[in-house]
Amino acid sequence: MSDRIIFHIDINHCYAQIEEMMYPELRKVSMAVGGHEETRHGIILTKNDLAKAKGVRTGESLREAYEKDPNLLIIPPHYDEYTYYTGKVKEIYRQYSDQVESFGLDEAWIDYTNSQKLFGEPGKVCQEIVNRVYQELGLKVSAGISWNKVFAKLGSDQKSSAPYEITRQNYPETVWPLPVQDLLYVGPATYEKLRSRSIRTIGDLAQYPEEHLKKAMGMAGVMIHAFANGEDSSPVTEVTAVSVPKSVGNSMTMIHDVGSWEELQPVYYVLCEAVSSRLRQQGLEGSVVHVSLRSAGLDWYGCERKLDQKTNLSEEILDAVRFLVSSYDFAVPLRAVGVSLSHLSEAGTLRQMSLFTNEIAREKARRTDIAMDEIRARFGFQAICRACTLVDRPLTDFNVQEDHTVHPVGYFQGRKMVV
């Protein structure tokens, strides 16, 4: 069977570029898209070229960014616009193939193999797509072409003006000299493990004995070894079916640091209510509650607890959270907190009652949750809230459920690894 032809196309610093396309005057100033500073949901999501030249980096806090460039203009994100325009970009891709797989808002793989007879030579067509996106939507994209998804992505990461082609013939010269952290799935932790074995380039990784990697890192080691050798046969698939989530959670950076459970509890009430409501909407319940805490020193702390019974009640989730957070001593105040429920299953109508829990109280809590959902659905999120959340209004004044979040996506999207 002949090799596949896969394009990977990436909208360069997507959010910033869409803002610039809508308001061209932004191209003349150093600009970044980031969270609201007053509410401290503040990190830089993307930046334009002028901000990049001043050293502003994606992922850093607004404060760090201002230190590098005091004149930096920070724009809050407009997700509706990003979703709309990236959707338009993908409409162009879909004119060339029915196999288009989105990887986040800004990236996509296109399997061009079967379209070749219709449209012609891949290099030319890929360039045509790049040109069309620029002409029709005013957005610059970079593209990579290869026989597998991993190398196609590496190709587009090179940000060359013409589509970057990685073939079976040229990959030892083009891919192997690249630093190993450029490879998909080599994050900071994996990078450290590889570095300790003197693996610095993708070539080093490709030539490293697979067995050793498997011993040290398990299947993840086998996977990245295969990636480095271009052995990735995972298909390009349109993700249309909604996959069942593995966990449902919400997290929050607080408007000010919090130094005690009394202060934190209202925040967790709002978070637990959101998680509980989302679980109910999807007809799910879970049995493991996971809490994540980030201190003002930016250290992460996470712990989890298995519940006796599956639940989607906000009260019960909060009880578990209370128990888990009690192991944190608040020596360093907390900046961001989160809660999630996993080991999910469908919430059945029939349930084994427990002799040791107060089932009447449980039923009451369930009805309270449902009533709150209904009131909010009819009259808005602010229409009803727990009294304790009114003590420090700015701290709890957020609607995590509806505030738009763009979820990061995993490469396998629920599929099994194919190497």
Partner: protein
């Protein structure tokens, strides 16, 4: 080339059975109406004044102008601010 400005405008549109949209006249802020004499070309394009959408190259009072249908409203690349 003189500088262009992005001006959102009211447009009277003829919506055809086959979902084709044909702009018929343009209404400026002072309620002055400008009939569109002819649509010369229709294609998706990014505008140099910002934004993108379906560009209608039209003839208005003998002048060629670019009118854009952007998402759900119309703007013109105007010579006047």
């Amino acid at each position: 080339m003189s500088e262009l400005y992005k001006r959102y405008v009211d447009v009277v549109v003829r919506m055809k059975k086959d979902r084709q949209m044909i702009p018929m006249k343009l209404i400026w802020d002072n309620d002055r109406e400008y009939p569109i004499d002819k649509v010369l070309r229709v294609e998706p394009r990014a505008s140099q004044v910002g934004g993108s959408g379906i560009r209608y190259e039209v003839k208005i009072c003998g002048q060629i102008r670019c009118l854009f249908f952007e998402k759900d409203r119309w703007f013109i690349e105007s010579f006047r601010p």
